[in-house]
Symmetry: C2
Subunit: 119 residues, 2 copies
């Protein structure tokens, strides 16, 4: 079974997560058999380790981590690969993959440009 972790920055603000959780809900709407959870780098729970742990307890043998970041900062460039290394050490039997940040997906850039130029 493959799990998906939607990893976002996080905020103290409860409502901050709503759009992130909406993406998870949409993944499930598109594929009701998907195993998708949200996780946060800081200020909100669960963190990546807990989210991965939950998916593995449910039987995940592969986990795709998708950073829902628009900006490509230190979190995305440095912290994330380190966190993935830690996951691989904790669960060597699980295949972890790290997607590029969504802000670097050409389709996303195109859609953001279209949204921005709307009248």
């Amino acid at each position: 079974m493959r799990g998906i972790v939607l990893l976002a920055h996080g905020s103290r603000d409860e409502r901050w997560r709503e759009p992130i959780e909406a993406v998870a809900a949409r993944v499930l709407q598109d594929d009701p058999a998907a195993h998708v959870v949200c996780a946060y780098m800081e200020l909100a729970t669960p963190d990546l380790h807990s989210a991965a742990s939950g998916l593995i307890a449910d039987g995940a043998t592969a986990i795709r981590v998708v950073p829902l970041f628009l900006g490509m900062g230190k979190h995305a460039r440095e912290d994330l690969p380190l966190q993935l290394d830690a996951l691989r050490k904790a669960w060597p039997q699980v295949v972890f993959s790290l997607a590029r940040i969504v802000g670097e997906e050409p389709e996303l850039v195109e859609l953001l440009a279209r949204i921005s130029a709307k009248s």
Copy 2:
């Protein structure tokens, strides 16, 4: 003339801005006559006031502010409307409009779900 401000969180990290600037470049690619600038809430320049000032100096009579935020936190809910009020007071002759955060656009949620579920 209408100006567009792409407003993002900002970061000390120079490279953080690359995906934001890529959106501005894409707006210009789609419409070479567009007047689009990036601005940042914190830790990077220009801020919204400076960005608006530049567009108005270039002749903008209407400015659309597009918050490139995925999460809907205090910045988006509270700071942004206050900043828009300040712009309206500073330039009463200019029509300012504030788009909803891109994280709340159904098309964006749909695309993020599709990207997240890719194999």
